[in-house]
Amino acid sequence: MSRREAAASAAPRPSGLAGMSLACRDVSFSYEEARAPIPALRDVSFVLPAGGSLALMGASGSGKSTLLQVIRGLDAPESGAVVLDGAAPVDVGYAARQREVGLVFQAPELQLFASTARDDVAFGPRRLGWPEDRVSTAVEEALDVVGLPPAHFAERHPYTLSGGEQRRLALAGVLAMRPRLLLLDEPFVSLDPGTRRQLVGILERLKAAGVTLLLATHDADLAWALCEELLVLREGRAAAAGAWDFSAAGGRLLAANRLREPFFVELWRRLGRDPQRAPRTAAAAAEDLS
């Protein structure tokens, strides 16, 4: 059984989601400051096909969070365009597509506010104006997907949950709106290894269900485990976009951007194997080595 199959069989699968394609075309954005605007993104271009997965990496301050917010539509690009499912902002239906982009902020548990898990997750769907029975179905499914079965968790106060449970509850609040493109900003920071494994499983299931994934992270191992492609931002510019490149030049590019190779890539290189064909998980590595 493959990694994906194993993950997908372990928990309920999110249903009815088909991925959205994303293209950024020369996207630029600056933060307004008293003295002068501070450019945060400069001419960023890349394409992420529907159902694809892209790791967004780069040094602290390289523009990762800004890019996610621009893609979600919380900030409008100064120039360039975010194209969703082939539709540009001027096209009919763009706003509806934008609502199908989910953004999970850094430390999203800080934004939990309702007095029950159910109400917190229901907030987004209700704001979309969904009828209450649809909201209810979406909430229960989202809680299931993140491993917080509604029977046990729906009526709990968010503050009585552990930190890892709160992080997953916040993710459920985004998933309940049925995003077809999911943007995650450093979702693994401060999670214990067990909770990270759970979150990796959740993201694997979403991928298997077809959701397009854009994952900003400093963690090269998790980025490599989850994402087919890589976008490196450097001072707001795309320093690399596309397939992972572990050639000598690719290694220099990672180092220049304060990044490192994934563990299994370094292992493969040091074993004299082709790093480009390195496994993405311990199970796959063991399969290959045994």
């Binding site: 214990d192 290894p193 400093h218 304060r258």
Partner: protein, 283 residues
């Protein structure tokens, strides 16, 4: 000089410590013992909510224990208000988020902040700050505003400020969690150097490979000690590691996966180098 009745006594000596947050129905820390001696590096690991950060704050004299049979830091009684205030001078604490720890307008003012509060003479402050800027590679950034620094630079500035005040114990609460890999390496190198000079270090982390190099690892489970000993001993007990919500370093996870497929390696490698050696040695 700080008072220490017995030089061989542990710098941190905690016995039967309890801490309960106001309004909480259970202890965040319960009947906890911890002893840390001069020059020791102790890693503290545990699931989210197991009490690691609470412990860090208590050791730094930033919270009052709810109860304890004994709670001393560098000879100061953490149960007494004046003891905690005195402990804050000997025990430096560095937190996770570099954004929250810088208070001044520029790097060198931030490094000087603790010394100014202690009313050091200006010339002594200048000398000490220059020494800290040099040691943490911050000389060229000395007038930089904190918001213009990278995460790693911010965390090094915060660490320089903590260490500028001569300390006997350094408590670090996930100091690398929010940093990029290069920033993480910078902070780890600085911590290793301080430990090499004899400073006692308590290092709270979720990164299992960071715990591997510690002299001792303490694992917390719902506020109590679930394990104390060397890293090899903790990671060899895979059932315990899983129960605690932890994991093995990547090398160890691969060794386990190999063992499941009938290719057990000699020993349990926990680092890339140990793994390569074990793979080379296996048939």
């Amino acid at each position: 000089m700080t008072s220490s009745p017995d030089e061989t006594a542990p710098l941190l000596d905690i016995r039967g410590l309890h801490y309960r947050y106001a309004g909480a129905s259970a202890d965040a820390l319960a009947d906890l013992d911890l002893r840390v001696h001069e020059g020791e590096l102790v890693a503290v690991v545990g699931a989210n909510g197991s009490g690691k950060s609470t412990l860090a704050r208590l050791l730094g004299g930033l919270e009052k224990p709810t109860a304890a049979r004994l709670a001393r830091a560098c000879g100061h009684d953490l149960l007494a208000d004046d003891g905690r205030i005195a402990a804050r001078r000997d025990v430096g604490v560095l937190f996770q988020n570099p954004e929250n720890q810088l208070v001044a307008q520029c790097v060198e003012d931030d490094v000087a902040f603790g010394l100014e509060n202690l009313a050091w003479p200006p010339a002594d402050i200048r000398r000490r700050v220059d020494e800290m800027l040099a040691r943490f590679g911050l000389e060229e950034l000395h007038l930089r505003e904190p918001h213009m620094l990278s995460g790693g630079q911010k965390q090094r500035t915060a660490l320089a400020g903590v260490i500028a005040v001569p300390r006997r114990v350094l408590v670090l609460d996930e100091p690398t969690a929010m940093l990029d890999p290069a920033g993480r390496d910078e902070v780890l190198a600085a911590v290793r150097e301080l430990h090499g000079e004899g400073l006692a270090v308590v290092y709270v982390t979720q990164e299992m490979d960071e715990a591997v190099g510690a002299d001792r690892v303490v694992a917390l489970e719902r506020g109590t000690e679930a394990y104390a000993g060397d890293a090899d001993g903790l990671f060899a007990d895979v059932a315990l590691v899983r129960r605690l919500g932890l994991g093995l370093p990547a090398a160890g996870e691969l060794a386990l996966a190999l063992a499941e497929r009938g290719r057990g390696l000699r020993g349990l490698p926990l680092t890339m180098d140990a793994l390569l050696e074990a793979l080379g040695g296996a048939p």
